[in-house]
């Protein structure tokens, strides 16, 4: 057993940490979040130059053959700087679906542009009624000659606004909750009949409500076999759950640091807050919870890396823990900052907002506890 990161992984960590320190201070991030795109296309290209966008793809596709542990390293470092650039929708979700299931033509068309940062994509897998159940799909795709005709509605699609292409989970057969009969289609954002209501989330990220009315999609845009996408969707969402959990662990670490620092400077009743035992013990608890959560993150990353039989169960254990740890660390950090914690002015509140949305993304604690029990 070995918990140490490789030299390459440490270099990636260091690269991102330095980028955040030099180019991504809080005020820069704030400007990006308020901009039209909501993130920096220039920084996105920089990540491409760093090799971060190519990291998880096989060498045959032009990538660096990175695994779950490499993804964990990137996202945990991103979390500490609250990086808002859409890595998970583009690389972890869309990129993996294409890389794992796509035809050679599809891979050649999409992956190089995704890795260089020229192409923006998203994966539309949620519907208003589906919540976290990946098998709950009502958006329908019916084959008509050489085209599918798609009708339906996809909810809160991450990175929808910037996307050039959206991968949409559709029902090609079966009933609403059947695992069989779900297919994946790559749909151009500017397709006729696709309308998108674009908006900002509270955490600064962007999303869309996507309505599909009689949208005609070439048959060649089907990824993988018709009706057989459920398994791969589950696998990719597992990987994305690991990635977003790593981001959360990075955020937790940063929130603990910021809070500790704040209590060492803020004075009340003639002494710094850090001198009050009532507060010290709470900071010890948030410190411990971060460490314990990080332990589960490492465990789940290793299981996924090894394709262990209980990998999915480990992911659910991790995401359950992320939910409860995020609540504790997030809320305690705000409380210990006092009134300043609820102002837009300080970064702590922005970390809190992202950590809070992560509690829900890819399934909240209740969902993952149920899934853990069932696996």
């Amino acid at each position: 057993m070995d918990f140490a990161l490789s030299d390459e992984q440490k270099q990636v960590q260091e690269l991102i940490t330095q980028f955040i320190a030099k180019d991504y201070p809080f005020d820069v991030r704030e400007k990006l979040v308020k901009s039209e795109d909501g993130f920096s296309r220039e920084f996105w290209k920089t990540f491409g130059e760093f090799g971060l966008l190519a990291m998880p793809f096989p060498e045959g596709d032009g990538g660096f053959n990175g695994g779950p542990v490499d993804l964990m390293v990137i996202l945990e470092a991103f979390g500490t700087g609250l990086i808002v650039e859409p890595y998970i929708p583009n690389i972890v979700l869309s990129g993996h679906l294409v890389s794992k299931l796509g035809s050679e033509d599809q891979k050649k068309e999409i992956l190089p542009k995704l890795m260089s940062g020229e192409l923006q994509m998203s994966f539309a897998f949620t519907e208003p009624q589906s919540r976290f159940d990946l098998n709950d799909v009502t958006t329908s795709a019916k084959l008509d000659g050489d085209n599918y005709v798609v009708d339906g509605y996809k909810a809160v699609v991450m990175n929808g606004p910037a996307s050039d292409k959206i991968i949409v989970s559709c029902r090609t057969s079966g009933n609403q909750l059947d695992e069989d009969g779900i297919s994946l289609l790559i749909i151009d954002k500017d397709s006729k009949g696709l309308s998108s209501r674009d908006y900002s989330n509270v955490d600064g990220s962007k999303a869309s409500e996507v309505t599909l009315e009689n949208v005609s999609v070439p048959k060649t845009n089907l990824i993988g076999d018709e009706g057989k996408a459920f398994k791969i969707i589950s696998q990719v969402i597992d990987l994305a759950t690991l990635a977003i959990s790593a981001e959360a662990v990075g955020i937790m670490q940063k929130m603990n640091e910021l809070t500790l620092e704040y209590t060492k400077t803020r004075e009340q009743f003639g002494q710094t807050l850090s001198k009050f035992q009532a507060l010290q013990h709470r900071m010890v608890d948030t410190f411990m919870v971060h460490e314990q959560t990080k332990s589960l993150l490492l465990m789940a990353a290793a299981k996924l890396n090894d394709n262990a039989p209980d990998a999915s169960k480990s992911i659910s254990a991790l995401k359950f823990q992320i939910g409860s740890a995020a609540k504790l660390i997030g809320e305690e950090s705000i409380q210990l900052h006092g009134g300043m914690g609820v102002t837009e002015e300080m970064s702590i509140g922005h970390y809190f907002k992202r950590l809070t949305t992560i509690r829900t993304i890819f399934g909240n604690s209740d969902y993952h506890l149920k899934r853990y029990s069932s696996l």
């Binding site: 057993m1 209590t263 060492k264 010290q280 900071m283 010890v284 314990q292 959560t293 332990s295």
Partner: protein, 397 residues
Amino acid sequence: MNLSFSPEDLKFQDEVRTFLEKNYPADVKRKMDNGIPLEREDHLKWQKVLSKKGWFAVNWPEEYGGTGWSVTQKHIFQNELAAINSPNIVPFGVSMCGPVIYTFGTEEQKEKFLPAIRDNDVWWCQGYSEPGSGSDLASLKTKAEKKGDKYIVNGTKTWTTMAQHADWIFCLVRTDSSGIKQEGISFLLIDMKSPGVEVKPIITIDGSHEVNMVYLDNVEVPVENLIGEEGAGWSIAKFLLAHERTGIGGIPHLKREIKRLREIANELPLNDGFLKDDDLFMDKLNKLEIDLLSAEFTELRTLAAMSAGGHPGPESSILKIGGTDLQQALSELFVEALGYYAHPFMSEADLASNEKRIGPDFAATAMPHYLNFRKVSIYGGSNEVQRNVIAKAVLGL
């Protein structure tokens, strides 16, 4: 990063499992499986089997009879030990006094005491707490006055676990009262057969006799039984506490117990089904299992870091808090599983007799265990004291 076992590790696991299953004395196993309290001889019989195999002083340096095992091998060994329902290894000699002696003792002291600990020829107990000093350990008052080549020791020690079985006691004593309270403490080894040593039982709320008062009345102790310098006792005490806290979480044992509770839930009737059909109960069980997983990997991370950097430090406080929280939560869940059948009380004598148990087989020990385990967040430095340690040593507050 690679968290899976290597082929060598798996081979080692197999070797350990085979040996333990074959050599675990049947009568000790029967008592453990049936919740019957163990006698002194039961502990020694089993521990001597491990000594003979060279698997007792697992964590010691090899030159003193340790195993030289890797972190992974030690992890495997502890898990296998728990899997056969082994009693906890009595820690006072092998995990506490031994490391103190090989770290701070003279060559003569090492020769005199270490082999006897390693071979289970001497039973040690721990003379730390006093009636007036619980969590504030440094306020201890037991006095040792030097007279010629002897110390004359007077005072009272309390919460002394298994002192009724012990041959020797290691004590923190005050050799100087002039400075601040942490100064003037010394670490002294005392033969329990010395005139003036008296042991009186303390019965705890579960009805068991585990802890004792130890009275020291003009006990004469040769000066060569002082470990380290006179007045160096506080730093030795802290070293020992860090060792004590590391294994205190009892994670391998918890893994076995949670598995057992799951089996119980599958079989225990509830209405027209089984306890496992109660979703709220199972939610608690599953949450606990996830917490345990995170505690286990936190311990492994800590051990891996320690194997690179030497002795346990303040991290051991994290393990102590995390592990003891889980121990208490799980002991409560056993009680909850039983409903009314948690209530009938059986004394240690009842348990040892062949009298038929009331309710399910596991019922008799569940509530006593829950009651007894209130201690775990109090002993070894209360969990509040552990938080003070982390606040100071890790967070720099």
